[in-house]
Symmetry: C2
Subunit: 101 residues, 2 copies
DNA sequence: TCATTATATAATAATTTACTTATATATAAA
DNA sequence: TTTATATATAAGTAAATTATTATATAATGA
């Protein structure tokens, strides 16, 4: 893997909040509103973290009404497969509001 | 792997210069003087990068006279094994001076 | 001993990153 | 329509990171 691409993916995951986002998504799709509760940071901060993960090709999203559900992309790089294996899934990230759709 | 520990190791490698240091060391021991040439940054900067890698348990060193040779530690964490596999070795990091010892 | 060389540490400056608040956009509902 | 809600983007600020220069330490050789 090329050094610059490697750096980009590693930088994307080298942050505790983004690790938690990934930990949540190991159980499946999660909507943004729930991430805000889990991380305890502002909604724009969550949005920016998600954008980083998306730009690194690690997550993708699906729009459901006004909500947006994020999930891990299906075909990860070998690097990310290894890293994701080391991330303990986090329960209790499921939608509590009506966004389960 | 615990999220905080994971973050620490990921942060240690999420930097282009440190990726290059690791790429050099894939071929074996390298002494600090050679890293300076390869990265094109100052000697103290190299020294600080090496310290971060050492503190994360990724590299270790051996003193040879006034020189110091750095190498990858033998037993890496499963996380690091996967990451190191993705780092392309970098040739031409061998000692050009008398520090081959 | 004194000068030289290799590396590490300290102090500080420059850059990057990650927040915050404010605002924009888009959908849904009244 | 108008209002409310979910998310994204913009702007600004705080915090963390990475560089530099200056200095310390430790080993070698004259």
């Amino acid at each position: 893997m090329e050094h610059l691409l490697l750096e980009k993916q590693l930088k994307a995951v080298a942050d505790l909040n983004r690790i938690k986002l990934l930990a949540c998504m190991k159980n499946g799709e999660v909507c943004v509103c729930d991430f805000v509760d889990v991380l305890g940071i502002s909604q724009p901060a969550v949005s920016q973290h998600l954008r980083k993960l998306k730009e690194a090709g690690i997550v993708t999203e699906r729009k459901v009404g006004t909500w947006k559900h994020y999930r891990l992309v299906e075909d990860q790089t070998p690097l990310m497969i290894g890293i994701l294996q080391q991330i303990q899934p986090m329960g209790s990230c499921q939608c509590k509001t009506s966004c389960t759709n």
